[in-house]
Each structure stands twice: as C-alpha cells, then as structure tokens.
Amino acid sequence: MSADDVSLKRRQALQDGPVQRLERMMEIRRVEESVLELFNDGYVRGSTHLAIGQEAVAVGLAAAARPTDMVACTYRGHGTALALGLPPEAVIGEICGRQVGCTDGLGGSMHLVEPDVGLLPTFAIVGAGIPVATGAALTAWVRGTDDAAVAVFGDGTANIGAFHESLNMAATMKLPVVFLCENNLYGEYSRIDRTTPVADIADRAAAYAMPGVVVDGQDVDAVTAAIGEALARARAGEGPTLVEAKTYRYSGHSRTDAGAYRPDGELDQWKQRDPIELGTARLLESGIATQEDVAALEASVAERVQAAVDIVLASPHPDETEILRHVLAPANR
C-alpha cells in the first residue's frame, strides 16, 4: 500500500461515522502535542504553528469535501493535513525534516502536501492559497467536472489583497470554491478588533454578492454541514460561499509565542467549548459510544501517534542530493 493509498483510506474513514471523526480530532490534538514535545526536545527547526482547539474545523472540512476537491491550506496546517488523510508520520516526519515526511523533509512544518487527498502544497505566505484555490476551482469550471475547491485561511488573512481579489473573481465567474475562514480571533499577536473593523468576516461576502455564513467552529457536525452546503452550491454552479468558522487556538501563534496578549479568562472560556469534549459529549449523549469506547479511542490514538513519532525519529534526514532534485522537471534541469 503506497503512502497515498494510506491517506485515501484514512480520508474515507471519516465517512464511516461520528466516532471516526472524533477519533481524528483526538489524533490531531495528540499529534500537535507531540510536535510541541519534539520541539522542546530540539527535534524541530524553524517555525511550527499549532492548531490545538481548531480540530473541528479541520475534520469538518475533511468530512464534507471529497478527496478530489482541492484544498489550499496554510502553515497552520498539521490538523487539516491529518484530517484530509495524511498519516501522522508523514506530518510529524515533515516537521522534523526527515525522509519519512510528506515532502521528504525538504518543506518543513509550513509545507505539507498530498495531492491524492486534495492537499495542495500548504502556503507559508499569508493569503497566497486563496487565489490558488480559486484556480483549482477554475480547472473544474473549465473541465465541467463537479469538483470544487476550498481555500482555508485565518481571520487576519481577510485583510490581505488576495482575499479581496479572489472572492471578487470567484463571485464574478461563479467558480466552485468555498472560502473557509478559520476565525480564531488572532492574527499573530493581534486581536481581530485591532485590525478589522467588522465583527464577522462573513459580512464581507456582501461586497461580492456572495453568501456569507457563520458557523460554530467548535462543533464538527455544524462545520461539516455548513461546508457541505457551500460545496453543494459550488457543485451546482451557484458560485462561491464565504464560510466563517468561529474557533480558537489554545497555544500562541507559533512555537515561541506564549500568547500573553490574550485577555485573562479568554482561553478558559473557549476551553469550555472544546471541540473534542463537545464531540465526546454528543456521542455519549446519543448513546453512540460509551465512556469505555472513548477511553479506548484515546488510548489507540495515543499509541498510533507514539508509533509515528518512533518511525519519525528512526527515519534519516534526506540525502544531500535531494537539494537538487525536483527544482525543475528531470529533462529540464
């Protein structure tokens, strides 16, 4: 089974039901925690941007989209990559610059990829993925397929030019694309109200005569439904939708940031609506799972992620000759 088969299987598993979606959220959380540990242990160079707290957006997106729907995601992409299907070792391996990583360790934390489940190379430049997702939608429009594309970006990114240009162009051409804003209230160290004079990013959709939807980003089912609807509109030729998922990142912006700029109590308040706890509660309430099932899930996830970490640490760094490969097509070097 090749790496991409694994990813596809993992992606399809999300269709099996709410348990699988909860499990994936747990896995994302556990991977992010491992990355933090690996970082503290000196295994991670450069920057890493964790998405702990935002798991429901990632999994909701992956549950709603097809593997053939192309996703342009950001540097805060570990969770989205795992949700879309990448196995933990491909993500952690990449973050640690090892051969087992999804770009052989040449990209690092900000550059994950797996086209077979729709993950375009993730973008380390703010906003750069939004026009690119629009372009993936253009391909579907030109070819007349019913694929769609999704641009994932943050609240702070709604202030960059590429956002505006892409939403306008997609709306004008009625391209099959969903603009998914993960509004976690902060762009780096700036709270949204210091950079953005509107409360809801979704309100900006009106400037493009496009529907704008706000969804509870902590509720995986709500996210799945909202993105699902937007994708259905896209596939039906009705054009793009701006979906704003209200969410929160528990950690700081990146590895070096403790998040001290946040008002007291804000983090705790958000933790009370933790996506994994909410998801767990819903499964328990509805009787789909028992406490024991959940504990077993947690244990198996922890085990799987630990196994991935072991694989990663046993994986060598890529060979030096890799620097010169894949700069241009082979015949073109």
Partner: protein
C-alpha cells in the same frame, strides 16, 4: 515546412492558437484578452474559436488571476497568463516566484505548475517610467523559473510554444517595441524554438556580441555600421537557463565579448554573462568583457531622452570599436558625462 509572413504580435497569436488547438488543457487568462482581443491584440479572435472557458477575461486583479493560474496549473491545466505590461506583476510577484516556482520542490514532483506568463516589456514607445522596464531581474534569481525574451516573429512563435509545453513555469518577455515587426517565419512543429538555446544571428571573427530581445535588431544595425569589423551576434533567447556553451564557444573563437542588454547597468543578466565568460576564458581573451546597457535611471518619457537612454546602434558600434581598438572596456556614456562634470 510551413512558412508565413507575420508580425511579432501575430506570431504570438498564432502560437497561442496552435497550442490551444493541439492541447485542450491550454487556457488563456488575463485582462481584456477575450472579448477585446488584448490590448496588444495578441489574443484577437481566440475567444470566438475556443470559447470563454479557454480564453478568460478577468477583473483587474493580478494577484487573483495569476494565483488562479497557478492553482489551475497545479490541477492540470496549462494556463498562459497575459501580463499586459510586465510591471503589473509587481503587485503579484509572490504567486510566481514564491508559489509557482516552489510547488514542484515542495511536493517532490507531485504537484507541478506548467504555467506561462507572457508580458509585454521594455522601452522605446514613450510609455514612461512605470510601463517600460524589462524586469527580468525579478525572475532570474529564482530557481524553478525559466525566463525567455523574444526578438523576432520566429522566436515569438517558437519560444512561446516551447514555454507552453514546458512542465515548469516560464516567463516570456515580449518587447513591445517589436510587436509590429514583420518576418517570414516557420510555423507548426518545425517552428518551435527550444528553451535554453541561443541563436547565432550572424557569424564573425573579431568580436562576439551577446544580446537579447529588442537589442538584437539594434546590434544587427550596429554590426552593419562597423564595416571593418567582423561581428558575431548571439541572441540568447532564453535568459534562464542561458546557453553558456554557445556564448563561451563563440567568445573563445573571437577572443572578445560585448554584452548588450536592455536594462540598467546594475543587477542585469549581462553581469552573469560577463562574470561567467571572464572566468571560463580567463587568460584567453583579447580584451575584457564589455557591457553595454542603459544607465541606472528610471526610463524617461520624452522622445529624445528615451532614445538616449536605450543603447542605439551607433552607441553599440562605438563601444565595440573602442573595446577592440583600446583593448580596454570603454566607459559607458553616463560615466563619461560624470567625468566631464
């Protein structure tokens, strides 16, 4: 072999037509290229033949549509973007250099970007300081990107077809001043000009002049002025990767090299050529490598000044002759002026 007589702008149109026809993945993207046929009429009529899903008008959103082209290329299309004036990419450069040219590397060959950006470029028509630059230096130091410059209808046709077929992103600069130039050229497969290969325009034994773009006809005129000198002219055609072999071989045979570039003195490709040849043929040259360029100044609008700004045939001839007669690299005209002041 089919030949036909076309202007440079028509050769571009023909190349686009032929690629649109032979490959359903080719699409054109840009401002006013469909209904209006392009500001320089290089896409005229194509939307009628191929329809609005192959020839796509966009809002004035360079970042948006260049980025969309990157995304379309990454998902299977072969977009050709028209950057009406190459300066406009200054609001969108990231998408080409930092995104498009990185996807192959950052996906280990799994997501590739067969994208072409065609831009009208260069001075000579009085468009002024913000619509007259070559700007190839924005693209050159950027691995993953190829850059070529058109100098006549044949390579306008042939380089563009190569660029569209290339699996990686390619910038094609079309000197605006040449759009109206007419030539008998070969079209069809035989008319395709490979990337990375220079063209020897004219053979000679006394000096090699390496140039590109709109300077090619200028150098040809210069050579005609130097009746006592046997000038070999090499048109690079592709700036990245440039054809070191042809340039070095020619210079080795003549012993002298002049590089004529439309672009400022500082930071241009003529430095790369001069550096490479000076090192490669160390001890084997009869004179230092000379560079003939524009001064380090914005491009003036006023006619006589723009004419002065650009290397003229007379200036190229004079600099070349001075190199040959003195065995030293002549000062450029602005340095002479400064010395006088």
């Amino acid at each position: 072999m089919t030949t036909t007589r076309l202007r440079v702008r028509q050769a571009v149109l023909q190349a686009l037509h032929d690629e649109l026809e032979s490959d359903p993945d080719v699409v054109l993207i840009g401002e006013d290229i469909a209904a209006a046929g392009g500001v320089f009429k290089a896409t005229e009529g194509l939307v009628d033949t191929f329809g609005p899903k192959r020839v796509i008008d966009t809002p004035i959103s360079e970042m948006g549509f260049l980025g969309a082209a990157v995304g379309a290329a990454a998902t299977g299309l072969k977009p050709v973007v028209e950057m009406m004036f190459i300066e406009f990419i200054g609001v969108a450069l990231d998408q080409l250099t930092t995104q498009a040219a990185r996807f192959r590397y950052l996906s280990r060959g799994r997501v590739t970007v067969p994208l072409v950006v065609r831009g009208s470029a260069g001075a000579g028509l009085g468009f002024g300081a913000q619509h007259s630059q070559m700007l190839d230096h924005w693209f050159r130091g950027n691995a993953g990107l190829k850059v070529c410059v058109v100098s006549n209808a044949q390579n306008a046709y042939g380089l563009l077809r190569s660029a569209i077929r290339d699996p990686d992103p390619v910038v094609v600069l079309e000197p605006r001043v040449l759009y109206g130039e007419r030539q008998e050229l070969v079209v069809g497969e035989e008319g395709i000009v490979p990337l990375g290969k220079a063209r020897t325009v004219r053979e000679g034994g006394d000096v090699t002049v390496v140039t590109a773009g709109a300077m090619v006809p200028v150098v040809e005129q210069a050579a005609a002025l130097m009746s006592d000198t046997s000038v070999e002219i090499v048109d690079l055609q592709t700036l990245v990767p440039w054809d070191t072999d042809t340039v070095v071989a020619s210079t080795a045979s003549t012993g002298r090299l002049v590089v004529v570039e439309e672009g400022p003195w500082t930071g241009g490709w003529s430095n790369d050529v001069a550096a490479h040849v000076s090192s490669e043929l160390f001890g084997r040259l009869r004179a230092p490598v000379a560079r003939v360029t524009c001064p380090d100044a914005p491009i003036p609008h006023s006619g006589p000044l723009e004419a002065r700004y650009l290397p003229s045939p007379e200036y190229v001839a004079e600099q070349t002759t001075r190199l040959i007669t003195t065995g030293r690299a002549p000062l450029p005209w602005w340095a002479e002026e400064e010395k006088v002041q």
